[in-house]
C-alpha cells in the first residue's frame, strides 16, 4: 500500500544549525500520527518542509507516491494537503465565514473570476457555514476574527483546513493555549474527522494528545529518535530520557 505521506532522508540546515537531520517517516492512509518532541526539535520545520514553506537541502517528500519537492505550495494543496498553523495565520478584519470562503476558493476554479459577486455565491457560503458548524462555530460565522477568543480562532484554523476536504491534514499544536473545555471541544472535532483523512499532528504536550495517536514519532534535535505504536513509544526509555532528562 502506498503511504499517504512519505518523507525520506529529509535534511535542512539553517546556517550551521541542522534543523532536520535524515528524517524519514511513512504515514499510512487514514492513520493518526502524533509527532512529539521538546521545543526546537524541528517539528514545525518538518511541516514547513512538507508544505513547501521551506526548501530542504536534501531528501524527498511524497504524497500518495507523488514527489512534492518540485511543486510550489499551492499545488501541493491542490493534491490534497492542508495544514493549520501553530502561530495563528488568519484574516483578522474579515468574518469567520469569509475566512473559510477564502479556503474554499483556493480549490475552486472560480477564484479567477473577476466579474461575479463573491457575496452572491451561496454554495461557498453554505459550505463555509457547514465547516464552521462542524467545529462548533456555527453561531459565530458572521463575527470578525478580531471579535473572537483565542480558542475560537484555533477552531477556525481547523475549520479552514477541514473545509478543503484534504487527504492529508497537518495540525500544528491545535491544542496549544486552550482551556480544558476548549481542548475537549477540539478533541471531539478531531474524533469526528472521517477516516479517509490522514492526520499528522504536532503536539508539544504529550498528555493531551496521546489518546488520539495511533503511532507516534519522537523528534529530538532534528532527528527521529523513536517511532512506533503509542505503547511502544511511551515505554521506550529514550522517550523518558528526552522528556525527563537522565
Amino acid at each position: 500500500m502506498t503511504p499517504a505521506l512519505e518523507v525520506v532522508n529529509l535534511n535542512k540546515r539553517f546556517g550551521g544549525l541542522p534543523a532536520t537531520r535524515q528524517v524519514s517517516l511513512s504515514v499510512m492512509p487514514g492513520e493518526r500520527r502524533l509527532i512529539i518532541g521538546p521545543n526546537g526539535a524541528g517539528k514545525t520545520t518538518l511541516f514547513n518542509l512538507i508544505t513547501g514553506d521551506l526548501t530542504p537541502d536534501a531528501g524527498s517528500v511524497k504524497l500518495f507516491g507523488q514527489e512534492l519537492l518540485k511543486l510550489p505550495t499551492q499545488q501541493r494543496v491542490h493534491l490534497g494537503l492542508a495544514r493549520t498553523y501553530q502561530i495563528l495565520t488568519l484574516f483578522p478584519k474579515e468574518t469567520l465565514c469569509h475566512n473559510v470562503v477564502l479556503a474554499l476558493l483556493g480549490l475552486d476554479r472560480m477564484r479567477w473570476d473577476v466579474w461575479t459577486f463573491l457575496l452572491g455565491q451561496s454554495h461557498l457560503y453554505d459550505a463555509a457555514r457547514e465547516a464552521l458548524a462542524l467545529v462548533g462555530l456555527g453561531a459565530s460565522a458572521d463575527r470578525t476574527v478580531a471579535e473572537t477568543s483565542y480558542g475560537e480562532r484555533r477552531r477556525l484554523e481547523m475549520a479552514m483546513a477541514l473545509a478543503q476536504k484534504p487527504k492529508v491534514l497537518l495540525l500544528d499544536e491545535p491544542l496549544a493555549g486552550l482551556s480544558q473545555e476548549e481542548r475537549s471541544q477540539v478533541r471531539d472535532v478531531l474524533a469526528r474527522v472521517p477516516r479517509d483523512v490522514t492526520i499528522v499532528m504536532i503536539e508539544h504536550d504529550m498528555d493531551s494528545a496521546l489518546a488520539f495517536a495511533e503511532r507516534i514519532t519522537l523528534l529530538h534535535y532534528g532527528e527521529v529518535i523513536v517511532e512506533g505504536t503509542r505503547s511502544q513509544v511511551v515505554a521506550d526509555p529514550r522517550t523518558k530520557e528526552v522528556y525527563l532528562g537522565d
Binding site: T73, H78, Y85, L102, M160
Partner: protein, 318 residues
Amino acid sequence: MRRKGVLLFAIGMALIAVPLIITSEFYVNLASQILIYALLAVSLNLLLGYGGMVSLGHASFVGLASYAAVLLLNAGFGQLASAVLAILFSTACGGLFGLLALRASGIGFLMITLALGQIVWGIAYRANTLTNGDNGLRYAARPHPFGIAIDSASSFYWFSLIVFAIALFFIWRVTRSPFGASLQGARDQPRRMRMLGHNVWLIQWLAFVLASFWGSVAGLLYVYYNLFISPHAISLQQSAEVLLMAILGGASALTGPIVGAVIITLVKNVVSTYFERWNSLLGAIFVVVIMFMPFGIVPGVRQLWARWRAPKKLERAA
C-alpha cells in the same frame, strides 16, 4: 441599500450636469482632468489598496499609451486602431513590468517600479528621433467616437465621464469578485493564501496587468485631452502625485482615490493661480489629513459619520 441607489443616481446626474451648470470652459476642462487623474488613481489603487503593493511607476502607463497612440497615428493607423494597439502595447509592457517588479515585495517592489518608471521617462526624454525628447509630440486630433465630435470642452468632458464610469464599474466588480477577495487575502496573509491553494504570485501579477490596463486607458484620455505628450507627464513627480491621491483619499475605499484626485487636481490648478506656494499647501493638507485620518479622507469621514450616527441609533432604540 435604496438610499445608496438614490445617492448614486443623484451623484451621476450632478456629474452629467457639470458642463451645463459651470459654463466656464476652464472649469469644464478642469473637470475632465480630474476624471483622468481619478481613473489613474483608481487603477493604481487596485495595486495599492487592494493588493498592498506600493508602486511609484504608475505614470509610465500614461506615457506608454500616449506615445504609442501618437506614433501609431503618425504611422498612418486609424484612430480606433491606434487606440486599441496603444492600450494593448502599454498593457503588455505592464505585464512585463509586473514580471520584473514581483521578483520582490515591499520596498523592493517599490524600488523596481520606480526604476521602471524612470526608464520609461528616460527613453521618452532621450530617444529624440522617436519621441522628440523634451519638446514632446503632438497628437493630430481627437477621435470622433461613433461619429460624435469631442472637440469642445463639454463634449470631451462627457466622453471622459462615460469612459470613467465604465472603468469604475468594471473595477468595482473586480473588488467585489472572488478574484478581488483573493487579491485582498494575498495582501494580508500571502503565506496562508498559498497554503489554501491560491497562486499568490499569479494573483498579484494579474492585478498588476489590470492596473496597467486601466492606467493605459487613463493615459489615452490624457493624450486626447492635451493633444500633446512630453516626458513631464510621466516624471517621478507624476507617479508620486497619483500615489498621493490614492493615499490622501483613502486606499482602502474604492472612492478614496477619486476624492484624492479631486483635491490634488484642484489645488494644483485653481489654488496655484492665486497662491504661488501651492505645493506647500498640498503638503499641509496631506499632513493634517494623515494626522486626523490616518487611513485617508473617505475611511476617516465614514468613521466620523458612524460615530455621529451611533448615539442617534441608540436613542431611537430606547
